[in-house]
């Protein structure tokens, strides 16, 4: 067994075990989730009353930019990745992912990219900025030409574009890893249409990642050249147009929405059958709907740009495609409800969050359909109505789905059950809090309050609604503290989890909690879509023996992924500080890490 399976800091720094990397992703993403949450609370406290003066306009710009960027790229995506890492190899009967060191590299690049991005909160003195905070300030979608050097001369946007470029490398590396893992490392008999739905959605999500991230990479590269090398990709005065950025960003940005929601849909599709004691209704249709969403997600990007004035034909086409994409989503919702119908329902916290996901996501989906109508969208664009919509999708949808996953798989990941009473208190506080926080935003927006403005006049008539929204946000904050307490408490007070505390149908429930380094003492042979349940034609499969019948060799840990990953933020310091030689130092570290990685006797 490798050094990576022991204790101590070194074993974590060098680990290539998918389970440990999954936990690293979880804790890092959760920490960033708390950071993004604090940013949100400051925003809401600023807006609790009209003419608020908790923060100034510039700090407010940084807060909403970093809140969006952090939640999307540093919290929700990597929280999904923590489950890809920990759960997918267990669901497909594999000992690890296809490329364990690339997996470690993905994590370390993510961590360094996230730290670089957040270093901007404190890096002002290094740039003689006269202020502490030089965080990005042009919104999470960084519209040109706000991001051009002419309008944003400080290092703020540099942090954003370099941080996102680094995070993109992490996402792409992980994306290829999971696609190859799911296609090639499935246990004998685990045909594609026997894959658990979460693993299927992981596959679709990672396809979207490896196809969508190159688009934003190109967009950011153009921006980098504009800012550092004097090109004019988005400069109108030079004959270019900032609308190119909008096209490139939303070509990435809309698939990104599905990158964030499909894993949650996968989790819910696994949680509902377990706690209804029924197979997923219409498994095949749910899987094909997920694939269809993946494809159709590429044909709707300009609905983010109706206010640009693309013309009635383009507007009509994108309105139609946007309404069409609601069809496979609606199909999934009906299948989830049909799964619950007539089931032997157990009201666990995981099920609460899964059902909460369905309810909240329906609201977010319906407000999304209202954006699909260009005339309606023109009234809603840049107002709080859009903020309400995005939060019903990402908070009511993605977060509720991910939290269902936490309560469902935490016993498998740690060997300890979370407290169900605390879990339900968490759920109800979060459920009430989010509806108080985000539902009034529909009205606030339609009454005329624009988003991304640091304060508002009492004459606008939205003061009371804003106060309600802030109270809701504080309730959400309280609910998250309860989750933190529950996670912490489970370390010592959580009831020990058996192999299968829920009676699950998929392979991960047939092995110990937490699983041994090799996962399966014997790689299982799968004969059914629900291998651990009795079906019409198959009895439940026999779980692998507690001890492996023969020694199992697992690869050791490696320093080189973290070394190679460290080269990237060093390279990013060169353009940030306008110091050429630093880029060569970073490149040397990266290449040295890759070289040693390539010639490392990893299997020994």
């Amino acid at each position: 067994m490798s050094e990576a399976t022991g204790g101590g800091l070194k074993s974590w720094l060098t680990t290539t075990d998918h389970k440990r990397i999954g936990l690293l992703y979880f804790w890092t993403a959760f920490a960033f989730f708390l950071v993004g949450g604090v940013e949100a609370l400051v925003i809401r406290l600023q807006l609790a009353h009209p003419d608020g003066h908790l923060v100034g306009a510039e700090t407010y710009n940084q807060l909403f930019t970093m809140h969006g960027t952090t939640m999307i790229f540093l919290a929700l995506m990597p929280l999904g990745s923590s489950f890809f890492n920990y759960i997918v190899p267990l669901q497909i009967g594999a000992r690890d992912v296809a490329f364990p060191r690339l997996n470690a590299f993905s994590y370390w690049v993510f961590l360094f990219g996230g730290l670089l991005l957040n270093a901007s909160w404190f890096a002002g003195p290094l740039f003689h900025a006269g202020v502490l905070n030089v965080a990005p300030d042009a919104g999470w979608f960084g519209y040109a030409n706000l991001t051009e050097r002419q309008y944003s001369p400080g290092p703020n946007i540099d942090f954003w574009l370099l941080g996102l470029q680094i995070l993109g490398i992490s996402s792409l590396a992980a994306g290829f890893n999971f696609v190859v893992t799911i296609l090639n490392l499935r246990a004998p008999g685990l045909k594609m249409m026997r894959l658990p739905t979460f693993s299927w959605m992981t596959l679709v999500t990672n396809f979207l990642i490896i196809t969508a991230f190159p688009v934003i990479t190109v967009g950011l590269l153009f921006l980098m050249f504009d800012r550092f090398f004097g090109t004019h990709f988005y400069v109108r005065e030079a004959g270019a147009t900032p609308v190119l950025w909008q096209h490139l960003f939303w070509l990435f940005g809309h698939p990104e929405v599905y990158i964030l929601i499909l894993p949650a849909m996968g989790i819910v599709s696994d949680v509902l059958p377990t706690f209804s004691r029924k197979p997923l209704f219409g498994y095949t249709v749910v899987v094909y709907s997920g694939i269809l969403i993946g494809f159709m997600g590429w044909g709707v990007w300009s609905h983010h740009m109706f206010s640009v004035g693309l013309g009635p034909i383009a507007d009509s086409v994108f309105a139609a495609t946007t309404m069409l994409i609601a069809v496979p989503t609606g199909v999934k919702i009906f299948n989830w409800i049909a799964t619950l119908w007539g089931g032997d329902i157990r009201g666990t916290t995981a099920l609460h969050f899964a059902v909460g996901f369905i309810a909240m996501f329906i609201i977010g989906g319906l407000s999304g359909v209202s954006h699909a109508s260009p005339p309606a969208d023109l009234q809603q664009t840049d107002s709080y109505y859009v903020v309400a919509h995005i939060h019903y999708v990402f908070f009511g949808g993605t977060i509720f789905g991910l939290f269902a996953g936490i309560y469902y798989w935490w016993p498998k990941m740690t060997g300890r059950l979370l407290d169900e009473t605390l879990g339900k208190v968490h759920f109800w506080l979060q459920f009430i809090g989010m509806n108080l926080a985000f539902f009034p935003m529909h009205f606030i927006g339609l009454l005329g309050m624009p988003r991304r403005v640091y304060t508002y006049s009492p004459d606008l008539g939205v003061s009371d609604l804003n106060l309600v929204s802030t109270i809701g946000a504080l309730l959400i904050g309280l609910s998250i503290l309860i989750l933190v307490a529950n996670l912490w408490r489970s370390r010592t007070h959580g009831a020990p989890a058996s192999n299968d505390p829920w009676g699950g149908a998929t392979l991960e429930w047939g092995i110990p909690s937490p699983p041994p380094p090799y996962n399966f003492s014997v790689i299982p042979t799968v004969e059914s879509r629900l291998p651990r349940w009795r079906t019409e034609r198959h009895g439940p499969m026999k779980d692998p023996p507690a001890r492996p019948p023969a020694p199992i060799h697992m690869p050791g840990g490696s320093w080189w992924p973290i070394v190679a990953a460290f080269g990237l933020p060093v390279m990013a310091l060169a353009p940030l500080t306008h110091t050429l030689w630093v880029v060569f130092v970073g490149a040397a570290i990266l290449l040295f890490g890759i070289y040693r990685w390539a010639f490392e006797p990893f299997e020994v």
């Binding site: 196809t211 590429w298 044909g299 013309g311």
Partner: protein, 109 residues
């Protein structure tokens, strides 16, 4: 997809095949540069370059990316997003140059 969960694989080409493909890529690159200097091609320069680069692209994905030797499933996994990307690019070009808009159709750009 194979029953055991692994995609079927066919025999991989030999080093000689890879070298011949490399030679073909060199020849195609020389042609790409060469046609630029032949006045007869100027009228059809863009389609000629597109055809030549498509041929190079095909050789690279078939041989160096192993699609020819791997399961047809991988060809599908590569080809479907490629078709999608082509469609998206065409739509983007049409949108970007205003051809899909009424203004564009009227010739006003």
């Amino acid at each position: 997809m194979a029953e055991d969960g692994h995609a079927g694989e066919r025999a991989h080409p030999t080093a000689g095949v890879y070298l011949r493909v490399a030679a073909a890529l060199v020849v195609l690159t020389v042609l790409e540069v060469g046609v630029f200097y032949v006045p007869a091609f100027h009228a059809v320069l863009v389609p000629t370059l597109l055809v030549l680069s498509a041929a190079k692209f095909s050789l690279v994905v078939m041989f160096y990316m192993h699609l020819k030797a791997d399961s047809r499933f991988f060809t599908f996994l590569f080809g479907a997003p490629l078709l999608l990307a082509t469609g998206v690019l065409v739509a983007l070009l049409l949108l970007f140059f205003g051809a899909l808009t009424l203004r564009g159709a009227a010739g006003g750009g």
